[in-house]
Symmetry: D2
Subunit: 343 residues, 4 copies
């Protein structure tokens, strides 16, 4: 029987924390040894998340109460800015997968511009690997600190990065129209996340100024070998889970489709639909799968590329577990092959 690794989940009282517990619950080689949540320390996970009450889990504690000696890896599901403070104080030999935005941006000036303050852990920032598994797999295997991607960012990057690498689209003309479920806004009570405000309605938010633009700029510029700036309009959907990006590009549909199909051939979670078909968020719900589609416009030279994933799974906690598997030398797909939940 294979070795069992102990993990801690820091910030277990939010949706990404709960999603990690859900996924790890049936993982063959990972054991949850510690769960932290400052304001809910002392409570059981089943009190905070009754859907997990059948599980035998450690009680929530403060971070200070965790003995990291026996921990192989920590998932950090804390809010932005808090994350860098906490990780800076963790043992330097502890493997860490961070789900916040704190370590996604390579350039400290770009980070400061988008996030509004200087970074407080520049050495860690320099060390962190961007957690987009399919494009950074080798670096992740040997990384100590992996920075989970933005969920919207991942959705868009999966559609576009292969096209820029292959040189099959015009890098000046990339428009990302995206719609996301509300669970991405977290469990903290906010007027804009209330059922009465979200259901039976749809609108754009943070138009042209969403922070995930920083990730698009970073990854697309690197992939294209020249500055690339995209237009990005996120919308809020009246549903809990799922992101779908509709990307408008200029190129030949067959070449676009081929670039995606070839890039993702052999990838366990990436499904490229036949040319002409469009995916739906509901068909990846609760899973680590990404569905991609390419549809030619009626106007020659225009192409729509669709990309969809579950923001809490592949866009966040599923991706984190996939990376943790790599960092611990486990099979990359362990605990992640459950089929989507539909309907």
């Amino acid at each position: 029987m294979s070795k069992t690794f102990n993990v801690a989940i820091l910030g277990a009282s939010g949706y990404t924390g709960a999603e990690l517990v859900r996924l790890i619950a049936t993982h063959p080689s990972i054991r949850i040894a510690a769960l932290t949540a400052d304001r809910k320390a002392g409570q059981s996970m089943g009190e905070v998340f009754p859907h997990l009450r059948h599980l035998d889990l450690p009680r929530l504690t403060a971070i200070d109460a965790v003995d990291f000696a026996g921990i192989d890896l920590a998932f950090c599901a804390l809010p932005h800015a808090t994350s860098q403070e906490v990780i800076a104080k963790l043992p330097r030999d502890l493997k860490v997968v961070d789900l916040s935005a704190d370590f996604r941006i390579r350039d400290p000036e770009v980070y400061a511009k988008w996030y509004g303050h200087e970074h407080l852990a520049l050495d860690l920032q320099a060390e962190a690997v961007y957690g987009l598994t399919e494009f950074y797999r080798d670096e992740i295997k040997s990384a100590r600190l992996v920075a989970g991607t933005g969920c919207n960012a991942a959705t868009g990057i999966y559609a576009i990065l292969p096209l820029l690498r292959a040189g099959v689209i015009d890098p000046e003309m990339i428009l990302i129209d995206l719609a996301t479920g509300v669970s991405g806004a977290g469990r903290s009570p906010k007027e804009g996340s209330l059922h009465s405000e979200v259901s039976e309605g749809y609108h754009a938010y943070n138009v042209a100024k969403h922070r995930h633009l920083a990730e698009f700029d970073q990854e697309f510029t690197k992939a294209a070998g020249r500055p690339v700036e995209v237009t990005f309009t996120p919308h809020l959907l009246p549903q809990n889970r799922g992101i779908l990006a509709t990307v408008y590009v200029r190129g030949e549909p067959e070449a676009v489709h081929k670039a995606l199909a070839e890039t993702y051939a052999g990838e366990p979670f990436m499904v490229v639909l036949p040319l002409g078909e469009a995916p739906a968020t509901r068909h990846v719900r609760g899973s680590n799968f990404v569905h991609l589609g390419v549809v030619p416009d009626r106007r020659p030279g225009w192409v729509m590329v669709f990309s969809t994933l579950d923001n809490l799974t592949k866009g966040s906690s599923g991706q984190a577990l996939q990376n943790a598997n790599l960092m611990l030398g486990l099979p990359e797909t362990a605990g992640l092959m459950a089929a989507p939940l539909f309907p």
Copy 2:
């Protein structure tokens, strides 16, 4: 006290028929004299639509059973293709507002191309006026037959037509990304309209081939005085009512905003938000209002224009009543000033 007009609603067992009844229920000068529904003839409206059971309404009958002698105007809420057959047999002096697609397209060849068959009432087609009230008000006042617009088409046209007329955008670069509620698909049982298939999910449908493209081509080409072809990607939302178009154009944001504000100044149902603000479908739900917004992209020269309306009201039955008011010499806003229902 003012005159009361008698109307018939042909095809009253669908959602647009019921919406007409809902709106006319409190109209000060219109009385519902006949309601038809072939398969449900003999039933009361309260049996077919229990939300209308408090109203004193005529029973549903077959169309043949209607005596049109005392009818001033007929709303025709029948399926496409059926509508042209039925209207061709109506008295030629009866005013008609048609809610189907049958009389929207001016060019018979274009109609045949998009709808897959020759038009069966070419003389009526030649006579019909396109029912986009704000742009065809004078023609509608004197029209006998008005063709209601497509609901998606209206949403997009409201955002774009003033910009083409004012010449403030590049007519070669217009992308319409649109999301619509499911009530637009009607009350006929279809797998794709089931709650289990629609809720908690989002996807694009009829990509690059939606029939409302024919209306876009017709109206935009006319407004620009040159051929205009747009890209159009409709999506299905997990909600009943509401359409939001996110339109990507090239131009200066201030000029775009000014063109909308000036075009719609004084219009009773058109609300142009301050520059930089984006509207939401939930804020026009159940009403005849349209909310429009303009947001500059971070990339100079790119602008996002948002347009939202309720597909069953302003996109269909509310528009039809607005046009009927004009055709009957009534105040245009009669029966239509109810505020949106939120939450």
Copy 3:
């Protein structure tokens, strides 16, 4: 032309305040002269509730800034406990319709028991009339202060009160199983009201201890002329509007149905369905109508009575407007006859 009355809405930034504005927007004889909201003073109503942005309304102010000299009636849509403090300071000749729980309970000791503190305005409490229009119409017409009912309480009372009065059911065996939409929980951000927590789920809350029990006890005991205690289990629905009570009683179905039909004959908003039919929340959405149904159980002597209304309209702001109409000598149904919004 008839006189126009000026009203103030105190606490206009919550859902019941916004619903009052929505209803009054098309009222022929009432004008909104003042809107207050302490924390949002200075903002426009359109900023706080974009669905109302087409209306020409006074800006939100603090209560202290309102000149009540020209106000005929004030709607008080403030939180429980705050309401009694505010109303105690209003001019004593100002008509007031209170939407909070503060003046519903006649017995100060019962109030203190259920609400956890002594009442601070006992003289007002003594003066207040319970706002269940169909049963207190005459008192309401001459009242200065009317206490709006609880929305769940109204739903249950409409089903049961006529049966107790008519003596057709066993007062010892009344079980109220009720389900309500989430807008009743208000606009204040709470974890339990988030879309992610409410949608795709159903559960009972405040079982056997909901405060509306105090209203049931008060009204049922009065109607029966003997102490009546019921069992009451409220549930939260994944929808915004609507309450449906399923009431289990012992009696003969025909007698039960007859008692309801006779009690509500001639009532403008009360619809009693044919014996054997059950109503649905969606068929009263956004309206002031109540639908009632009676279905015999398969077991002789058992009957299910169903009652449904929109919690924000007939359960709260619509009821308040109906009462204000009576207090101002206006037609009771003014501004309230709009048909439900479906779908």
Copy 4:
């Protein structure tokens, strides 16, 4: 490595068929060898259910095209009445788990009364074991044909059966108020299952005449050793998955709670909450778990018992797999321990 068993899923194009595929996809010892769907024969499962497109599955075929020689067990997810015809023609040594209503009722006369026709396979009916695992485990282990329970029936029986066996409630006073998601109505297009008809609404259906009453009568009478008839009112929820029963009984809360806790001690999927807590459908979504709660009424001697499960999983396909595991000699929980999906 353990033996792998081959199964066929007959009727794989419906929701329960797809749910079986979803669950078996990660089952360690079961392989899907055949999938049938008469009208969709020839299609791939990924075309019919895109959420399953990452799986390597056999194509859909007609039942006649299946070679049952290599099949160890067949799941029959066909419509009622069809099921008995199909199963009657299957090899008599093939193990079968039927998900329809055809073999649930032991008494042919009772079957005929509730289902409206004579049973066509009386010998099979005599042989079938009722598939409520926790109460028929030993019979199921050695059964050839297991009849899956009704999903509503299972929800109610889990709450009540232990109480009747323990004799802690009055068998004359059992009221089951139940609410269910819409996926239980299946994938066949019906007006009543449309998103526009289901969302934002709640109503009772089949009041006092739902067919699952036959299962209640059968199981409760057997457990109590005397005739037991209950009152049962099912409601439709605006959500896809989940059933919650609120059961009103007479007894002592502690005794009721104890009877449940003792009955389900050691059961892998049955979670009894602490006395006073009520469960929610969302906390068992997509899982095989059942959450049960007991809350005392304010009136002495009355108790509310809550029971919730996912209709497609524990109420249907999950139960079927659990029974199949037993019939094949596999660990009962294999493939079924995934935690619920929340939010």
